[in-house]
Point group: C2
Chain length 320, copies 2
């Protein structure tokens, strides 16, 4: 098969895109990190005579749209549109590994996979930032805002900071090494539009003094990563004075769970993305102990929770 501009295309592809932690504390809408697992797995083929179609299986798949507003499909179609291949139709099979509505970048992984797969099938016509813009359309379809802090690390891997939104520009920072990333997910009753709700609780206006405190925490986060100073990084993660205070009221026991992480030696702890999961940056070899302490702290508030330990993933979306 051949595209509009004459490039030869593959007919079918299978890709993966990882779970991600957005914000990393004070970097609301601006930072994200790829995790070593879980992944969304997406198979895509062109379906020139039919219609777009997607089937969804895997973790939480019963809550994911299998219609035209599915994040993978929207992102894939955005690539087709940007490359002048609107007439091509897509057939997708999405196997969800990243659980939805836990704050682990589920829609970001699906969006990244959709855009990445179609760009690969077309012979990579899009540059990274154009590809990111397409993937962000999947995020917009899924949660109402075209934020890039999950999609960018799900696409590119590592730790990403968004240095501009108009137009979108991203910068890849060092991968976080020498630390484990603990993710603790409480079993809470989940709203279907959780991410949207988590945005609605945010303040519309912020006092200038808080802006300075937030930016000093953000500086700690960035300088901690670039200087490979895990204490500085962790101190930045833990000092979100704007988003975390607003969102943490949606998470029973939040304060004690964070305190359990920090008092057990975590470098830093905050909400993962829009929550309700929390993440902690733990010294190497301490992830399981810190995860148990956090799970127990949830337990003392009557909340069941599960935890997993991770590494920062230098790879993002890839062909599998």
């Amino acid at each position: 098969m051949v595209t509009k501009d004459g490039k030869e295309m593959r007919d079918m592809i299978k890709v993966s895109a990882p779970a991600t932690i957005a914000n990393l504390g004070p970097g609301y809408d601006l930072m994200g990190m790829a995790l070593d697992r879980p992944f969304d797995i997406l198979e895509v083929e062109f379906n020139q005579d039919g219609e777009d179609a997607i089937s969804v299986t895997g973790v939480g798949s019963e809550t994911i749209s299998n219609a035209l507003n599915n994040a993978s499909l929207v992102a894939g179609r955005a690539v087709l549109k940007k490359t002048g291949n609107e007439k091509v139709k897509l057939s997708m099979r999405l196997n969800k590994g990243v659980p939805p509505r836990m704050g682990m970048g589920s829609s970001g992984a699906s969006s990244a996979a959709g855009a990445f797969a179609v760009n690969e099938l077309l012979g990579r016509p899009l540059e990274p930032e154009a590809l990111l813009i397409c993937a962000m359309e999947g995020e917009r379809a899924s949660c109402g805002a075209a934020h890039a802090d999950n999609v960018a690390p799900a696409l590119f891997g590592g730790v990403i900071v968004i240095t501009d939104y108009s137009p979108i520009r991203v910068c890849r920072l060092n991968v976080i090494e020498g630390a484990e990333i603990v993710v603790v997910s409480p079993e809470l009753e989940l709203a279907q539009e959780k991410t949207k709700l988590a945005r609605e609780v945010l303040p519309k206006e912020v006092p200038l003094s808080k802006l300075i405190a937030q930016m000093s925490a953000f500086a700690s986060l960035i300088a901690g990563i670039t200087n490979k100073d895990l204490k500085l990084l962790g101190s930045g993660v833990s000092r979100d004075v704007i988003i975390e205070p607003a969102r943490s009221v949606l998470i029973p026991g939040f304060k004690d769970v964070k305190e359990a992480a920090l008092s057990n030696g975590a470098y830093g702890c905050s909400i993962s993305g829009a929550g309700p999961s929390l993440f902690a940056i733990a010294p190497e070899g301490e992830g399981i102990r810190i995860g148990k302490a956090m799970k127990d702290a949830f337990g003392s508030h009557g909340v069941e929770a599960a935890f997993s330990t991770h590494k920062c993933n230098k790879e993002g979306a890839r062909v599998v």
Copy 2:
């Protein structure tokens, strides 16, 4: 002479502390850079039987207090207090090289010199961050706020980001290399309490969307410096959406002067500290051309201006 804790002291010292550019665009109260010149020069001796005294000469010295609230003296006394040497009296001779009320860190240089000199005379009892806290007291006496974004680079040199204010913590970033720093100072009628006024025009509250834009610019600034990417750095410098719009109304022709810098190839341009000077990051060898263009743009608004070109100074306060 011997201090309270038995260390032997020098009797007299002469130190210098450089001009600095605070904020660097979006890094309000959080970033600053030392310049290669001009300097404040401060001579200090202990004066055990007399009273504290300071004489001030040099650029703009007629507007600088020579009383007990002088920034150098306040900073020096803070070092004496913190080290348990309250009874020691100081005799200072301050020769101002950094012009006051131009946005070049005049009070920051005097404060850094005062704290640094007394700490040297005492045999360096204070660690860097304790010394910084003392120097900030000079800044508080001079302009009403104990901000550290001039004092820290005047003390330590290079480019400094403040990663926390409670307690104060700073991180030294890479020195900016391969660029000239152009400072253009308009001859405006100067208010005695300029820095205080420049703080009063700032918004008390900031919309969340502007916070994200500001933080993306701040991320560009930090990542641009740490990655030695002058274009990214300059893009960050130029995108302050909170402080610059508020303060630039105090600077006639600001918009055209900034535009003159950018259209002539500057990587970035913003207000230097609280103004009214502007600074631009210029490609090597282009500083004079860009400075002339900025001066001419002021001229077209009927404002006389002078410019100078600089390098980022890796050294801060030092014995001379």
